[in-house]
Symmetry: C2
Subunit: 195 residues, 2 copies
Amino acid sequence: MPEGSGRSYRRASERRAEVIEAAIELFAARGVSTSLRNIGDAIGVSHAALRYHFPSRDELLVDVYRAHEHSFADPLEANSAVAGMRASAERNRGIPGLVELYATLTTDALQGEEHPVTREFITERFRDLRARLREAVVAQQEAGSVPADLDPGDVAALIIAASDGLQLQWLLEPGAVDVERSLAVLERLLPGIRE
Amino acid sequence: MPEGSGRSYRRASERRAEVIEAAIELFAARGVSTSLRNIGDAIGVSHAALRYHFPSRDELLVDVYRAHEHSFADPLEANSAVAGMRASAERNRGIPGLVELYATLTTDALQGEEHPVTREFITERFRDLRARLREAVVAQQEAGSVPADLDPGDVAALIIAASDGLQLQWLLEPGAVDVERSLAVLERLLPGIRE
């Protein structure tokens, strides 16, 4: 996507979307440990143009992850809360660069004073995901496949944690951990509504 | 721990241990996002002395975490694999700075080319922990409290992941996630040997 004449009519939102798409490919291929300037070089966008669309590296990283996540169907339209997370993990297996991006965002979020945008995004993402998985667990409890006396919020947090932690172990040593098989164990312990 | 005359007889290992102890307190109080130089300033050790004991920030961080982890009894001398991890998480609740240190180490480990020492430490730690938890799960299977047809390695990776991921969510929003309660759910699904 070269900068150039005759393209100035393009709306900022389209350019922004192009940058995000190119960055997704870059991160998928090479990982995320690179500066905003290097990202611009790699995808053929001037640093000034990149800064126009994304005031900071954090904002680019967050938008790349958001675009990646939204490009898939809602994993929660599954048979169980675990099944939804397992489907996500299955897709992520092909794109370790984006799993690494997610891990980077979560650690940046912990240093909230230095990364306020990332912290807000990740905190809100966990809140939203816990609320949605909680609903899926309640449905499983109503269907009788998950014990009714478990707190559905505790179960939701547990399922997200398992998926995150397994993907981290897998990134470090892909041959030693099978994310989907370990999540299948959890799914068997917290069965779906239908067989 | 001021630098000073008359202390040169101390063995390097003792000084090193002192630095680690001071760094544990520093991280526990203020988190980890700081340079080796700032760490030296904060604990009253010259940058040169710190560099003598720890060639890089990574080596200090790894040794601080290792010392912290070893200062507790083996969590696996518990009634079940989950119970051991739950006991660890319970202790960690009082020291969020060290949970943050752990999260930082795991993300650094993913950028292995830049953080080879961290990558080796974290990869080995996961290997060791999976092997030990696997043994605990096998014992539970032999006692009949965990289904015999589950792969104990898959279960071990799942338990570590749940503990890691829950502590991450808790660090971001302490009021929204109860690590011990969510791990208690997992413990109920994978019961210990004794009631």
